[in-house]
Structure formats: C-alpha cells, structure tokens
C-alpha cells in the first residue's frame, strides 16, 4: 500500500526531498517505515532515538500501524521559539 512520507529540517536535507511516496507492506508500523528510510538515507541512523512521528497531522507513536494513504511525518528534535 502507498503512504506519503513528509520530512523536515535536516531530515529533509539528508533525503533531498520534503515529500516521498512509499510502498509499505500491509500492517507496517511507522517505525518499520522509518527503518526502511534509514537504510536508504544513511544520515538518518543518528536520529533513531530522537525522532518524533505524526500520522495525518497528529502526533502518533512510532508503533502506529499504517493505513493506505496515510500521511506520515518524521520530525527531528524541535527548536522553535
């Protein structure tokens, strides 16, 4: 099934894209998707323990099971203000 990945800040730069369409197996979690991306973009590995995730514009645990068409954002540590 197809999901959309959104990347921000340094993750966006490392991947060279702010939005990526991605095929994932049924039942895949956000974390499995992250692991898959980290294999493709080596710079992601350092973020394994510090990313946050949002699914369909709401913060969501990495254990969230994805649905077809989900919009999945991976967020590096934040620095607003």
């Amino acid at each position: 099934m197809l999901v959309t990945v959104r990347l921000f800040a340094r993750l966006r730069e490392l991947a060279g894209a702010s939005e990526i369409a991605r095929e994932v197996p049924e039942g895949a979690t956000a974390h499995a998707l992250w692991t898959d991306l980290a294999r493709e973009f080596p710079g992601f590995a350092g973020y394994e323990r510090s990313i946050s995730c949002a699914v369909n514009e709401e913060y969501a645990p990495l254990a969230t099971v994805l649905q077809p068409g989900d919009d999945v954002a991976f967020l590096p540590p934040v620095s607003g203000g």
Partner: protein, 161 residues
C-alpha cells in the same frame, strides 16, 4: 463580517503583529494580558548569527498551539492564549514568536504565558536553521512528545517559579 480578533493560533511567513496576538485573547472579563515576544539574537553558543530561517510543519504546529492552550486552561481555568510563530528568513531583531495570555488577574496571565513559551520550545514542530559566519547549522533541541508528563511538569514548574 470577519472576526476582528483574528486567529489565536497561527504559523505565518508574514511579519508578526504583536497587537493582533493580544487582541485575539482580550475579552471584557480579562483584567490582564501578558505578552511574550521572542526575537532573533545576534549570537548563539559563541557563534555570530547572521540570520535565521524557521521551518514549520504548519498544520501540526497550529494544532499543537491549540493543545498547549488547552493544557494551560486546565491549569489556569480563566486563562486564554494566543500563539503566533513566524517561518522563513528572519533578520536579527525580528520577532519569531509572539504569545499573549489573558486572564482576569495578572498572576494567571504571566504564568500561562510562560508555560506557553516553554511548551512551544518542547513540542511545536518548528526548526531553526542558523546562518552563522562561515556556515549554517540546524538547531535541534527537544524530541517533541506532547504526552511526556515530565516535560509538561517542567514547563509548569518554570511557569510558577
């Protein structure tokens, strides 16, 4: 007719209007409006800052601001909050964030305002890209987790100190 008060929670590339942020929370029962304005500073960690670029996940950031206001209202029942954050390139001295807290009395207004800026820094999906002499660096602070009770309590303690 458009709402003269304007939006309470906003991510915008336009210059922040601090009067509009205060107007978004003022109401006849409030005797106090506390405001906080964060500005771009010319140095950070010993580096000379030339300008900053802010990136945001805008829809989630605006929802997060609304959630912060709900948290504050749960602590200070009479407090109303507005939070505006800017994105894009900001020069030294420009406002990056503006917060207003309205309440019948000043103590709750000050506390809610301080709580809001602490929570923005902890959980708003916004990133600062610092352009310094000789290069640039993404600033990475807290792992954003709105459900983290320890972070929430830390913000509350700072608000009440």
């Amino acid at each position: 007719m458009t709402d003269p008060a304007g939006p309470a929670f906003l991510v915008t590339a336009a210059r922040l209007d601090t009067a509009a942020v205060a107007a978004a929370v003022a109401h006849p029962g409030c005797g106090a409006v506390a405001t906080f304005v964060g500005l771009v500073r010319d140095s950070n960690l010993g580096r000379r800052v030339l300008w900053l670029e802010y990136e945001a996940y805008a829809p989630l950031a605006e929802r997060t601001f609304e959630g912060i206001a709900e948290e504050a209202a749960a602590r200070w029942a009479s407090a109303r909050l507005a939070i505006h954050h800017r994105t894009g390139r900001l020069e030294i001295g420009e406002a990056s964030v503006a917060i207003a807290a309205a309440s019948p009395h000043r103590a709750e207004a000050f506390a809610a305002c301080r709580y809001a800026i602490e929570r923005v820094k902890q959980i708003a999906p916004i990133w600062k890209h610092e352009h310094v002499e000789g290069g640039d660096v993404w600033i990475e602070g807290a792992t954003a987790d709105p459900a983290d009770a320890a972070a929430r309590n830390l913000a509350f303690e700072r608000a009440c100190s």
